[in-house]
Amino acid sequence: MSNQFLILPILIPLISGISIALLPFRSEKSRNLFNLTAVLLNSFVILWLILSRPAGSLTLLYLTKTLPFALKLDGLGIIFLGLIGFLWPVSTLYSFEYMEHDKNQPRFFSFYTICYGVTAGVALSANPITMYFFYELLTLVTVPLVAHEGDRQSMAAVRKYIIYSMGGAALSLTGILMLLSHAGSVEFVYGGIGQLFQGDSFLLLAYLLTFIGFGVKSAVFPLHAWLPAAGVAPTPVTALLHAVAVVKSGVFAAIRSTYYTFGPDLLAGTWAQQSTAVAAAFTIVFGSVMALREQHLKRRLAYSTVSNLSYILFGMSLMTAEGLVAGLSHMLFHGVIKITLFFCAGTVLCKTGRAYVPQTTGLGRKMPVTFITFLISGLALTGTPLLPGYISKMNLLMSAALAGGPFAMAGIIALLLSAILTAAYLLPMGIRAFLVTPEDSLSFTEHDRDPGWQMLVPFTVLVLTMLVLGIHAEPLMNALESLIMGSV
């Protein structure tokens, strides 16, 4: 199967995104239909590509003599593509109802769909420079989405978002170029680009710079401030971008640079690995603590994303294959769980206008479906068995125990602490929602009821995936294992 088709997952959303903005649609409904079909088509193309798995890399152009612009579909790319391919149609459907009475919808939906193509680009890129290009383009495409409301608050959030992302991007570019000046071949290959000798402090510095660069998007401790601030954006944006696509591409890029460029054997045991492990472990606890303190619902979920992303980074920083598999499993499960949580928060916000946690006590009686989904995904995130969170958490703990060493122990303690904190900031809210204390019942208005079908379908789909993943995750885990090992 020739690899020309690799360009499709990037082009389809790009073209349809632009055409959404430009074509004069008769009605909102027809534009939504067009948008949904385009996104679904792209997901099927992705599915088809994953199944037929074209080999080799497609070089589009040569930036400089030694730096090609190339696309390739390998194990890691398949996992990330699969995640966004599955979640994007669901969230587009959700955003139709959310953005119902919004004034500039064409602009929103066009950038929303373009972003799909750019994230696919990040997944498909074959060498660090192409990935860097899509990575930076992703920042630019998401800027208008974060600044959608246009009020003073979202402007401040966008400013912070730009400062962090562009600063990080510049650093990661330096790191990549430092590496390329040393390494011969440029292609991503599991185990890292060859002939990098152990412990050369120039390369370790390069790795640290790339880690900081990509760490910004994956919200590691000192560089996380933009994520909660970006909570002001409309929920489909915060749900998809800041819980799934943008932050996951940060983590994806970090994994690419650790396992597929610098190579775990170069980094294992060095101060670079220790610093990443410490940063990740600290962020795990820090994110959960901040989430517990935060009363605004979406900011609380944003902080919980900060902490959960560092789960993945911690798995990655173990520099072992099991650690990577565990990290990736958490990437998938967290993506599904967190997007559901954001959708529930968004429905509550859009239907009842309540954004703060104390206001939702007793609301479960009026919006049963939303709050049952919220409770189930809360349980999943805390890691109760029979739900996906448990499996990735257990794998993380096992790989950390196997890796051994003081930093892995610190990570294990951080993981458990954060699990308790997650329980503390998600479950009470979920349970309180179903217990109507007398004085709350009179504060409900008639339109506090469950949303329309366009929101309920995503809820049910996501809850079902969670249950299936929770109960029968073994085939998926074995698939992860084989994909990573580079059988592709």
């Binding site: 930036l63 730096l67 630019l140 600063g167 991007a169 510049a170 430092m178």
Partner: protein, 499 residues
């Protein structure tokens, strides 16, 4: 002696003739003459470029039949030829881009003088690029100053342009004064004015070790002189006023080309006259590096706070010039290559931004402040898109020209452990972040949906000249971003043949 070899000299003579004829012709006719002249010179210089690249060495051209120590000569290598083609090409495109504004801003019956001044400016710049004699360099530096001041001044009934011109004149006279003093001291030491014999004498002196102090002083004088004229940060007080109060095309020419000609002269002096190793050992490059860093930080910072689009672009020029001096200051051939690439990239992008800024001003009632420019991008879609391409290239997004500079500059920074590495990284990060902030802010203001005017209120500047210049500029930007390899090769070989 292939006929191609005397094209550079012919180009200078053509421009002189063009300048003279323009001041007698009527404005319309002088416009046509000037444009034809420019395109002709571009073609000639392109032929020279092909010749030098094919032969792969730089040749000397005697003006008059006297051999080296007495006669005057010019020297053309691949790098000079490349700059020689680029300058007239960008001059033509900028003139096309700003043509309506020239006829609006300059007094009706004096517009032909504008084209005279432009031709004189081209004479001076080409001479600076090719000359092999220091005193001729001084003379053309002075002609360059007068011509560029005239360009700034030619804004009808604008007091601000006059004041800006005086400030600009004063500062650049300081620069040329120091430059002349440096030449005179060198002349009194070596006894020559031509670059090659002078370089041989200096190498002897350098090896014997005497005259060490005067030599470092002259290097300092040349560097500070040229820094003053090319508005490097501590001396850049005059640039924002001068570049923002001039007409659209002249501010494009000023920030795109004039400033660069001085830097090319400085590079030539460093490489050919004093010898690059002496320059690196004298430590002047570290100072230039620090000034470059300061330019990037302060230029971007001031641009961020600017409310007027042309002043913002002027301040961003200060920052981009800082990039060039950062490249020179790194002190390796890689650094110099990155500097030359930045010269070309900035020359392509900045005039585009100025022309589109001019179009926005005419599309929103001639005001330069951002709050009146709201939605201008929607009203004039072509310049909106062109401005965005220019902005993305300035930020340094891959596939655009700006990224190539960032790529080469970062590569040249890898002298691990030295303080330059850390300052360089810091400069890169700060400038990317600040550039993104103020360019994206500008783009978002331009594309804001203003409730009042849904249909394009003002007839967008639909003249053919403007449209094709903006399109060619944008395409040039994208092409350079993607196929930058051949140009980098030419620069590389040119630099090696420079000394």
């Amino acid at each position: 002696m292939a006929t191609v070899q005397n094209f550079p000299f012919a180009a200078i003579m053509l421009y002189l003739a063009g300048g003279v004829t323009c001041c007698v012709l009527k404005p319309k006719a002088s416009k046509v003459v000037c444009l034809l002249l420019n395109s002709l010179v571009t073609v000639l210089m392109f032929a020279v470029l092909l010749y030098t690249v094919r032969t792969g060495e730089s040749y000397v051209y005697w003006m008059g039949h006297f051999p080296a120590p007495w006669g005057n000569e010019i020297r053309i290598g691949p790098l000079e030829a490349l700059m020689g083609t680029a300058f007239p090409l960008i001059m033509t495109l900028t003139l096309l881009g700003g043509m309506e504004h020239i006829f609006e801003d300059v007094e009706p019956e004096k517009t032909n003088l504008y084209f005279t001044v432009v031709s004189l400016l081209m004479v001076a710049m080409l001479a600076l690029i090719f000359t092999n004699d220091l005193f001729t360099a001084y003379v053309f530096v002075e002609i360059n100053t007068i011509a560029s001041c005239a360009l700034v001044m030619l804004k009808y009934r604008s007091g601000r342009a006059l004041v800006a011109t005086t400030r600009y004149m004063m500062m650049s006279l300081l620069g040329s004064g120091l430059f002349l003093l440096g030449i005179v001291i060198l002349y009194s030491i070596t006894g020559h004015l031509l670059m090659e014999p002078m370089a041989r004498k200096i190498r002897e002196l350098f090896s014997t070790g005497n005259y060490a102090f005067p030599l470092t002083v002259t290097v300092g004088l040349f560097a500070v002189g040229m820094a003053l004229k090319s508005a490097l940060w501590p001396f850049s007080a005059w640039l924002p006023d001068a570049h923002s109060s001039a007409t659209v095309s002249s501010s494009g020419i000023l920030s795109g080309l004039v400033v660069k000609s001085y830097i090319i002269l400085l590079l030539k002096i460093f490489y050919r006259v004093i010898g690059i190793d002496l320059v690196y050992s004298s430590g002047i490059t570290n100072i230039l590096f620090l000034f470059g860093f300061g330019a990037i930080v302060f230029g971007s910072f001031y641009a961020l706070r600017e409310k007027d689009i042309k002043r913002m672009l002027a301040y961003s020029s200060v920052a981009q010039i800082g990039y060039i001096y950062l490249g020179i200051g790194i002190g390796t051939s890689l650094g110099a290559k990155a500097a030359c690439i930045q010269i070309l990239v900035h020359a392509i992008t900045k005039p585009l931004l100025f022309c589109t800024a001019g179009a926005f001003m005419s599309a929103s009632g001639g005001s330069r402040r951002f709050e009146n420019l709201r939605g201008a991008g929607r009203r004039d879609l072509l310049s909106g898109i062109a401005f965005t391409i220019g902005a993305l290239s300035m930020i340094g997004i891959p596939l655009f020209a700006g990224f190539i500079t960032k790529l080469h500059l970062t590569r040249s920074l890898f002298l691990f452990g030295t303080w330059k590495f850390w300052f360089g990284i810091a400069a890169l990060v700060i400038s990317t972040v600040l550039n993104t902030l103020y360019y994206l802010a500008a783009v978002s203001v331009l594309f804001q949906k203003v409730p009042g005017d849904s249909p394009p209120v003002e007839r967008p500047s639909a003249s053919l000249f403007y449209r094709c210049s903006v399109i060619i500029f944008s395409v040039l930007n994208l092409l350079y971003g993607i196929f930058s390899e051949p140009v980098t090769q030419i620069i590389q070989s040119g630099l090696s043949l420079f000394s």
